[in-house]
Symmetry: C2
Amino acid sequence: MDEARPTIYDVARRCGVAASTVSRTFSHPSRVNPATREKVRAAADEVGYVPRPLARAEAPGRTRTLTLVVTDIANPYYAPLIKAAQAQALASDYTLALTDSDESPRVEVSNLRQLLATTSGAILATSRLSDDVIRQLAQHRPLAIVNREIDGVPSLVVDTAGGMRKAVRHLAAIGHRRIAYLSGPRNSWINGARWQAVRQESAALGLDAAFLGPYAPNRQGGHEAADALMLQRATAAVAYNDLIAIGTLQRLQSAGVRVPDDFSLIGCDDIFGADLTVPALTTIAGPTERLGRSAVDALHAQIAHRTAGDSAVFDAHLVTRGSTAPPPAASR
Amino acid sequence: MDEARPTIYDVARRCGVAASTVSRTFSHPSRVNPATREKVRAAADEVGYVPRPLARAEAPGRTRTLTLVVTDIANPYYAPLIKAAQAQALASDYTLALTDSDESPRVEVSNLRQLLATTSGAILATSRLSDDVIRQLAQHRPLAIVNREIDGVPSLVVDTAGGMRKAVRHLAAIGHRRIAYLSGPRNSWINGARWQAVRQESAALGLDAAFLGPYAPNRQGGHEAADALMLQRATAAVAYNDLIAIGTLQRLQSAGVRVPDDFSLIGCDDIFGADLTVPALTTIAGPTERLGRSAVDALHAQIAHRTAGDSAVFDAHLVTRGSTAPPPAASR
DNA sequence: TTGAAAGCGCTAACAT
DNA sequence: ATGTTAGCGCTTTCAA
């Protein structure tokens, strides 16, 4: 007595049309005559047919879905990137599925595998995975990486290292001699690149550059950084990102350190909120939206033309707001 | 260069067995010779083959992926909700796929359909869809909604309407007589609920309550709201959300209106950044994380026990910070 | 134990 | 606008 679940064929037979018409009625209703459409729907109801979305994914059309993996959705930095990627995907009638790796490589790779099973490709933003793992994934599935450079994998990066150099030059120009870099996660490729830039430019300019951290890339991490900072002789700091800088700013201020009079602070990324603090944060900004758009383009290139997508490096610039000033006279 | 995702056929070719043997190796390992089994597994690793849960799973829940649809990822309000949902999903070894509907019902329904095809259920946050559409979707797939109440669909909401009442009482208590509500999107269920609460509580307390808007639920919308506000006689405003409140605050200040001395402002949601403005924003807060967790629980309940998940209403409270004070003497 | 071949329910070219 | 046909990746007969 076990009748199988009704299929589009049952519906088709019932109302004398082809199975494909039934299929269309449910997936592209606009492409079928309204009259037929109603007839099909009625027949479907009678027979008790329910569309089986899962089977759809097995069909050749693929899923028209792309995956974007970020390390922390709560980091406002990603918002414009996500929006841009989303818009770009939508323009080609693709859906973007987003997932958060919670700063954990284990979670990242597991989410990625899970979603890659049902999507047509993935963008990894600020990935914590090793080069090898990423290369391996890229071998089998369309992949693009953001804020990371790996040979053979389309990479979209903002040259924040160059931005860091500009920041250091700015600090040097207004008289600072001893600065600190507030490090983000140690296993972050881009964190390494930023610190190298600070170190080299400081050396070239004859500044003392101290490495502090690593700190969690959020406000809490900034609180800790501030505590460490107050034990240092530095008169300025460049932070891995704005979240750390904002946390540092707040802790410094609540400890009675005046910014920028007593201490100068520079963030990175120009996130939402960087212009909300008092003083507003001087920070390093780049075209985050282009990152998202280009990453989606790289994916589409791989899906459609089966060619590797293009890599690109975008310029970063310094947004000078209120958190930087010459050091206190006593320290010059 | 980039071959498509490896299939059992690739594995089969690689180690010289039939595809069916590869299939058996992964679905009924006991029915294949241990030696062959190992050979196949090794080949699968080399080729990078990963079994496709989709192609086999008939039962919902087999893809171990959940969908979360938000209206705007750039809205910091969602961050804690997303993080909590993600964590809760992860705890049951599920992956969360997130998508942004860009405030557009069209995009929302299309993304939803797309992802529902390959995931086991979906959470709609602050959905812009009609009750009917949502009910219809809920009929076929596990669904939970956040910040919205619909009969028969598990609903998780923070009682921000109650929060609005508290906000109005607070304003009344410190002497305001004429207030304004800065409306969010007109087709938002929760916006209606908030305005009703403001209207009713104002009436009960003998205050004048003006409805302004609708405004886009972002800072830009707040700028427009500020312009409208300056034409009104109100001495205080309650905004649909913090983003509008922050935008209003900034525009007001740049027009020379002092907050809270000249004008009081209350936001809603207590997002990241609400404590960054000067003055810090008085706002309505609720347990956003519990929303995310409970929504995932509701989905799991539907997937596992095939029962409808539970609905819940969480309390909201007023976080009194610096943006509210008694009205200027002249207006009392 | 293994291989060949026939589906599973659905979609998308390509005709008509 | 609709029908025909050829798959999608995998599982499952059925022989060998």
